[in-house]
Assembly symmetry: C2
Homo-oligomer: 275 residues x 2
């Protein structure tokens, strides 16, 4: 499987992906799931992908040459000349549909779903940053202030910490830290997600980024996050009082209305037959 | 959906379930997913269920009267006379199969999967505690020291904390606290899981339990866990250093080998056409 997360903040964008790919459990490989498209000073875009690797690689391969028809007198729209991230998402959707036209039927004959999920986000000179999630059908949705992040792949393990920390005002480096903690929880609980990670942090209005890093098991920062988070989480857990049952002295009793539990129990006496 | 978790420790067993049931998003109700079977001094068993509610209710309904054929001269095996939890799991599997025989074909005609996941655990006089997960086909697996817990339903959000805390030596009340934290993370991130919760803590060798509680939003202990965990998690998160990029002074740099990132980037100059 895969885990990718992208976060849109007022201050910028954060993108993080793992690199584990598996076909079943005995065929595990490492493939990068991130691609950065930069035209310095004009546009900066990042693509993350999950799902069937043959599909997502094909989409990535043709993305730069996919064109949307424009008016007669205009150049066709590509990811390199689009005037908005919305148009870039449309081009990506068109690339997904093109791969579907090529492979969809043959995959179906083999009983393989046409399954791909992509995230594309970035900024083009002349508009604000935008972040989109593109589905297998080539349709897409955009992140808003209420839902400032998208996840694809094994998203559930790492969702609670995002829900607790991220909002549009979160500073950029704090959001990068949060994405890494979210990834760490996913790595801990799911074998199909693995190192190395690719991380990009983009600052609003820069149309370029040098905060791009491939994180392996030797990366000092990720090791620190991994160890500190695990250790302190355990300390927090230990610092919370255990439940005190039946007359234990506490300000926070766990049992308050025993009569509510009665219908939960089927009791039969030691000498009875079936009740 | 649903979230249920059961943990087997040396000291005893912990069972926790939510009570949210949904058919789509607009038909949400509250149904308890736990049932306790107790024959004081002889056996104590707890059943948790997830999946299609009509199936799991039917299984629960017939569980007490489901019989496995024994040798000619012996009484048929039921959950109330079985001499081992293994036999109880067999009876539960038989009950699931009976419901399948009754409803499976009609459900299939309506395009509904025969989907049910159950956990049954407890102790019968004469053997140690045992914990089983029973699948839709009526087959089952048993928890071991290496994997001392089972989850059914929306299990992923709450898995990381279980993986970090639970092992067979974990004390019983600490495991109960861990199950509640696991549930709290799930409630936070998934609308289809909801209060009230049912919690049972069983001590090894008691063949009865009075640590059974229905936890609603007013329960002082669960409120404390919810608030403290959220707050301290945030403190731990804040206490971890943010990543320091490109020359920031830190003992744990995030960027170590910039050359590894080169192939991630497609760069095009401002005056170029497509690359």
């Amino acid at each position: 499987m895969t885990y990718c997360v992208a976060i849109k903040l007022n201050a910028g964008l954060v993108f993080l992906s793992d690199s584990r790919t598996n076909a079943g459990l005995d065929q595990i490989s490492s493939f990068r799931k991130m691609m950065v498209y930069e035209k310095t000073g004009d546009r900066f875009m990042v693509l993350l992908s999950a799902g069937n690797l043959s599909i997502s690689q094909s989409v990535r391969e043709i993305l730069q040459v996919t064109k949307l028809r424009a008016h007669d007198d205009e150049e066709p729209i590509t990811i390199w000349n689009a005037r908005s991230m919305f148009d870039v998402a449309r081009v990506l959707g068109a690339a997904v549909r093109r791969v579907y036209e090529r492979d969809g039927e043959a995959l179906q004959r083999s009983g393989v779903d046409f399954n791909v999920s992509m995230i594309i986000g970035g900024q083009i000179l002349g508009e604000g940053m935008r972040l989109f999630q593109v589905y297998s059908a080539g349709n897409f949705i955009e992140a808003t202030a209420e839902t400032p992040y998208f996840q694809v792949g094994e998203s559930k393990y790492g969702k609670p910490v995002l829900d607790r920390v991220i909002n549009p005002e979160t500073p950029l480096d704090e959001a990068a830290k949060c994405a890494l903690v979210s990834m760490d929880s996913t790595l801990k609980s799911n074998l199909s997600v693995g190192l190395p990670l690719d991380l990009v942090v983009y600052e609003e209005g820069q149309f370029a980024s040098d905060k791009i890093v491939c994180i392996d098991e030797y990366n000092p920062y990720f090791r620190m996050v991994h160890e500190t988070w695990g250790e302190r989480l355990r300390q927090v857990f230990d610092s919370i009082e255990d439940p005190a049952w039946n007359g234990g002295i506490t300000e926070v009793p766990i049992r308050v209305e025993p009569h509510r539990n009665q219908h939960l129990k089927k009791i039969t006496g030691p000498d009875e037959k079936l009740v």
